[in-house]
Amino acid sequence: MALDRGRAARDEAAPAPRLTPDWPGWVACATAAVGFFACLVGWLAGGDGFSVPWAPSLDLHLSFRLDGLGAIYGLLATGIGALVFAYGTRYMTLHLEHERRGAVERWRFWPWMLLFAMAMVGLATAQDLVLVFVFFDLTAVCSYYLIGFDRSDSKARTSAVMALLVTVVSAVAMLIGAVLLYAAYGTFAIPELIERVGPSETTTVAAALIAVAALAKSAQVPLHFWLPRAMAAPTPVSAYLHSAAMVAAGVLVIGRVHRLLERSELVMTGLLVIGALSIVVGGVLALRRDRLKQVLAYSTISQYGYMVLLYGMGSSTSNGAAAFYVMAHAVAKSALFMTAGAVTMATGEDRLSKLGGLGRRMPVLAVASAVAAASLAALPLTIGFFKDELFFAAAWEEGSVTTVLAVVAAALTLAYIGRFWVTLFLGAEKGQVTERSVVMVAPVAFLAAVTVVGGLVTEPFARLAASAGEVTAGRPVEVDPGYHLELSPENLMAIAAWTLGGLLLAAPRLTTVLSRTLARAGDLFGPRRGYEAMLHGLDRASAGVHGLEVRDLRSSIAAVLVPAGLLVGLAFAATPTDGAFALGHVSGADWVILPLLGLITVVTLVIARSRSRLAIALALSVVGFALAAVYALIGAPDVALVAVMVETMLALVFVAALARLPQEEPDEDRGSVVRKKRRRRDVVAGSIAGLAAFVTVWGFLSKPAAESVSDDHIRLAPEAHGGDVVTAIVADFRGLDTLVEITVLLVAVIGVATLMRRGKTW
């Protein structure tokens, strides 16, 4: 790991330079704190929104509203953001010192972090599907730069690319879904869509596409593999990404468009299944990870699985519970990540097997993280207890399968997070504590305090969750957590989960086998294999196409002509041809034009077949002059005159060029098999090109425009002091075009002069 390397370098060489205080970080922290209070005040004032036109021709609006759902995510993004940023000021300073990077590197970090927070707030309040997409991708772009912050580390770079590809490519699915909905219902605005959308095939497809984007973002199975990799990021990034940004963005979108997804039974079932799978896969894999951040990363997959499952249930209870869960999880998870980062910074170790007994040496951190871990494991007196209470209630309401699943899920959570904390802070002392920092422990302690307060006074949190649930469900939602000392199903499920979790914690051999088998299976058959195969395949295909294209001049031309021809063919196949082609009438001068066009056709074919260059030059002149005659006959004397002049000059230039070129070498291998084959291929290619041109030009000429500016030009020509309308157009109405044209001519003249004089201009 980069950290180890940096540390090793520090140990053997002179002490690393001390960096100045991280004021960009503190500015980011202060901005986030201001944002938090703005969100809070805005929500307490009832929450309002605004909508201004963005691209009216596309029916796009910049519409934002700070409703309950927006408030939760906005408060999390800014509140957790402020704490993580404060923590980051110290962490990043140490990190940069260890890696011997200058303070200027901070400017590659904090602007992205701040933009990340802003994008999250924008996403939380956006009310327009395209706007949601834009912010969705903005978070992905930020995460790319943040995950790849240690850019000298190849692992960090590949992780960043993986996170970007998985989330951005799937985000395109969301855009497609939005366009599908727009095509069917005529709006991108989410509130209006919710009013208009009914169950239909389009709705199912669009909802599924949006759900895919959201699930990939929330790292749900089978697109979860990018998240554990993203741990290559500096810890503040991980803490933020997992709790309040990026990963939360997926669940946020599900909460926002839930009433669209609800229209499709299939999508809701899909959410249930994927949520359940993610809980189990993430939970089991988290049981035996060795790296601190890996345990937490798999835990995140599992925890967001809870929320997806809750949204998949779709009842009012579960929608409120999901909103509550987001809050409780964000507080606990960010605290745990910061704990992991503080421990790693203090000891230089990032593996559970190399750490232990830190409780006596870092007592404040131990207690604070114990509270956070207890909250994640849903022990009483923490806010996390209620997240599971609500979860159990919703699962009980849903049926027996979800009830069992909920208990297993909670047991897994208790087992892995229990192991994490116990290994880290209890037992024999392992690892040296060399670095102590108040700034890195204080945010964890603060979050622990919030956790305990939330465990005692649930009212404000419940109110926020209820208001968010109302936005999601579209009807009033009851979120009423509290301690009930009775044999309710929720309490029984909690007791069962604790017992089972305790047993798992006490049976490390069983969990090791379980976790290792799943990890091996994942390595062998997992989706990451598909991703890598896809990446390599695309790379190979791209290299192949590239190699083909740059092979020689011919293939470069083919690289333009073949795709162009295919596109024309596709467009032709897709366009209705009924009545698109007209033969046209023949009258008056047309009887003279027809034989001229015939002559042009014949001479053109002669040019193609000709073996002598001189014959080609002369035949080209014949074509040019015949065309000039055609122009003269259809009432275009200006064009005819210019054509005659141009053709004369071209004929002279061409012949002059031929005179200066060496004699054509006699073809030794004329008539050889290779030659013939090549020639046949060229004929086929030329015929296809001609056919495509024919179809295109014919269709284009058959549908003349209903009106044109020509009449205005004719009317206005006298005012431009031009008797000849064409001259007036060239010199006056489209004078700027002519100016550019003259410039092109000038450039060409300079080019020719330079080439003829071997690079010497004068």
């Binding site: 090791t512 033969l583 020719v752």
Partner: protein
């Protein structure tokens, strides 16, 4: 007439494309000339009206459509500039390489290709970092840890 214009333009274009595929650089220039002729013819053929020349148009006249004519003028002149530049380039190539045959130029291309290949190799090494990351998951469950459990 429409189909006649379309046919003529199509033959011009098709022959131009055929010549573009030839090995001889002079023929390629001829191909480009034919293709630009096809373009001009198409523009002129798209006139909404074919009548008298649009000079001193009176109220009772039936003038041709002037707009395509103005566009055709532009196309013709630009075509001239393009062909002149191309011919100058061909001339230069022939002076430097002593041939206007693509096959003979391929040797030079091969040299460029070799340089590109080296660059591509560097790109590939960057991508291959993905494979290097694979080991991480397998080692995540530490052997040490397993030993301790037993």
């Amino acid at each position: 007439m429409i189909i006649a214009f379309a046919l003529a333009a199509a033959v011009l274009f098709g022959s131009g494309a055929y010549l573009l595929l030839k090995r001889d650089l002079v023929r390629m220039v001829a191909g480009i000339m034919l293709i630009s002729q096809a373009a001009v013819l198409t523009i002129i053929a798209s006139s909404l009206n074919r009548g008298q020349a649009v000079i001193h148009v009176g109220p009772d006249d039936d003038p041709s459509d002037p707009l395509p004519q103005a566009l055709a003028l532009t196309a013709l002149v630009i075509g001239l500039a393009t062909v002149a530049l191309l011919l100058a380039m061909v001339h230069r190539v022939v002076v430097v390489f002593r041939t206007s045959e693509q096959d003979a130029l391929a040797a030079t291309e091969a040299e460029v290709e070799a340089r590109l290949e080296r660059k591509r190799q560097a790109d590939r090494e960057e991508v291959e970092g993905v494979e290097g990351a694979k080991e991480d998951d397998a080692e995540a469950i530490e052997h040490e840890e397993l030993g301790r459990v037993r």
